[in-house]
Amino acid sequence: MKKYLTGENLFIFVVVILFLGVLFRAELKTFILEDSDIANISLRNQASATDGIPVRLLIPAIGIDVEIESLGLTEDRAMDSPKDRFNVAWYNLGARPGDMGSAVIAGHTNWKNGMTAVFDNLSQLKIGDKVSVENNNGIPTSFMVERIKVYDSEDIVPEVFNLADGKYLNLITCSGTWNREKNTPTKRLVVFSRMIP
């Protein structure tokens, strides 16, 4: 055994490991969040959530703790999508999380190349899972997942953006198959959540 533990062999081993790490560029960025974090957040006051804009999204069930950017519409009147695959975008022409109405947040999902993206595991959310949004004043608002639905990418869906009978947070990402012609997946996955009183 001792004869294998030569400096030369150890050097080769280290080089191989380093090379593999660089080669496959393991997406080591994780979204680690302890359940205790959201428990602490839930204890705080949610009453003044509408005074600020959302800046942080937390979904412990799938390990998400990311920044939120504020975006509006593209030139073809679609909700704009996040500029980075590791953060999410809030639709700033709609409701704010905690307002009456539908607040909408979108995030990327990966497609074929082994790259990871923030909402890769969004479809794994279950009814009852908690979602929390923190605004720029540090005030959190918590929501509970109510349902998950898939739409065609070209659907215009008021129930995602315009419901006004409650305080909703709807999360959007892509699903379906890749449409090369339109350079977008064929489906959209929407997670509907309602504010926890």
């Binding site: 062999n9 090379f19 509006g72 030139e75 009147r77 704009d80 999508s81 905690g98 109405g101 006004a164």
Partner: protein
């Protein structure tokens, strides 16, 4: 719009009137013809050389069919006049960039992007932005002007500063575009420059000048009464739009269009009812009225009513009425004798209904034929749609517009380029080689 007391609009939010006012301002700005249109696509105003000297802009209306960026080198707006930068995409300034004024006032600089406005960190910016898609200032950005984002949000980064201009002195002058049109459909050969435009007003920038086709000749004149006309030209029939005379207010912009249509030669055997010149020109007129004329609560349905008459001497057949932004055109009434001809004493009524989500100007065109000669007329109408302000306190969101889904997929093409394939293949081969060396060393040992 923030809550609380607002100087111009009183107590409480939202402020529908503020949305209407900003919508009206946008319409007014949009009505100014482009004085320079950039090549289609995204433009970096700091490096562009198609408009003139690099980084330098004189008063005018700059139209960008795409997004606009102000790069690190920045730009200088020079000259005492109005600057309008109109773009169909977003407006972005890069970090540490600057907009500099030289003999210009931030009061008179206007930016009207369709996409969002984002000012880079520590950038310096001048002028007024009207942008429903939202405005974001990076940290340390310094802005002299106004951020008007009805329906959107204004977001400021750490230590970002917006300073409203101290004094925006009321304008004492008005702007006028004089457009010359020449129609040569009966053998005429004159061009716009053959006609001389004459301006009667107080302190006109130009009192007499050769005609220019659209976008025309831009002049300033003092507020008050004015008349614009041209020296007569034989062989042409002249028509002037209503804006070619009247009283203009300070800061107002009008467009006077003078059209000359060449007269037809005398037609033998068709002189029945003819004029003294022997020419009978078919005429048609259309007037368009929207109802309502504005939508204070945001998107809604508008009914347009079109009144088509025949002010000429010839009955018109094959009458057609089309609207460029309303397709379901209905004939309502007016063909009293049911002969399918618009007689000189008849008034035909058409209607069309459409749903508007944003402030819209559309054009109706009426055509008809008299003795197989075309008569045509147009009319425009603008309906201001107030963007619904989003509640800033807990309340019911009244937003009705539904956007399309975002594109949140990452395509396969983004990672399958040749470089990546080569790098990975090289890596795998290197790995196998190292593995082989390691095994050989092991066996030798």
């Amino acid at each position: 719009m923030p809550g609380g007391v607002q100087t111009n609009y009183g107590v409480g939010a939202p402020y529908p009137q503020a949305g209407i006012d900003q919508g009206s301002a946008l319409v007014s700005l949009a009505a100014n013809p482009c004085t320079y249109t950039f090549p289609a696509g995204a433009i970096d105003l700091a490096t562009d050389t198609t408009h003139g000297p690099i980084g330098v802009y004189t008063p005018g209306v700059y139209c960008i069919n795409g997004a606009a960026t102000i790069g690190t080198a920045g730009i200088t707006l020079t000259g005492n006049g109005t600057f309008i930068f109109r773009m169909t995409g977003a407006l972005n300034t890069v970090d540490n960039s600057s907009v500099t004024l030289s003999a210009a006032s931030a009061c008179n600089v206007w930016w009207t992007p369709i996409g969002a406005t984002t000012l880079g960190a520590n950038s310096v910016f001048e002028g007024n932005v009207i942008d429903a898609a939202g405005i974001t200032m990076g940290s340390g950005a310094n802005w002299n002007g106004r951020a008007l984002a009805f329906g959107g949000t204004v977001t400021t980064g750490l230590n970002a500063i917006i300073t409203a201009p101290n004094v925006c002195a009321p304008a004492t002058t008005a702007d006028m575009y004089v457009i010359k049109q020449v129609i040569n459909n009966d053998g005429g050969t004159k061009v716009a420059a053959d006609f001389t435009m004459n301006v009667t007003a107080t302190n006109p920038l130009l009192a007499s000048f050769a005609g220019v086709e659209s976008p025309g000749t831009f002049i300033t004149l003092d507020a008050g009464p004015y008349t614009i006309d041209e020296s007569d030209m034989s062989g042409y029939t002249k028509t002037l739009t209503a804006s070619c005379s009247g009283t203009i207010a300070a800061g107002e912009t009008r467009t006077c269009i003078i059209t000359n249509d060449d007269d037809a030669p005398i037609a033998s055997g068709s002189s029945s009812g003819g004029s003294s010149s022997g020419t009978i020109r078919p005429r048609i007129s259309v007037k368009k009225v929207p109802s309502p004329t504005s939508l204070a609560d945001g998107a809604g349905t508008v009914l347009y009513t079109y009144t088509v008459t025949n002010p000429g001497l010839l009955d018109l057949d094959n009458v057609s009425v089309t609207d460029d932004k309303c397709s379901a055109m209905n004939f309502v009434s007016g063909d009293d004798d049911n002969n399918l001809e618009l007689d000189t004493k008849e008034t035909w009524i058409y209607s069309c209904s459409t749903f508007l989500r944003q402030t819209t100007t559309n054009i109706v065109t009426a055509t008809g034929y008299g003795h197989e000669r075309l008569a045509t007329d147009t009319d425009t109408a603008t309906v201001v749609v107030a963007m619904t302000p989003r509640p800033t306190v807990a309340g019911v969101s009244t937003t009705t517009f539904t956007p399309s889904f975002p594109n949140t997929g990452i395509g396969p093409d983004s990672e399958s380029n040749i470089a990546n394939i080569v790098v990975r293949t090289f890596g795998i081969l290197t790995f196998l080689s190292l593995l082989y060396i390691a095994i050989r060393k092991y066996r030798q040992a």
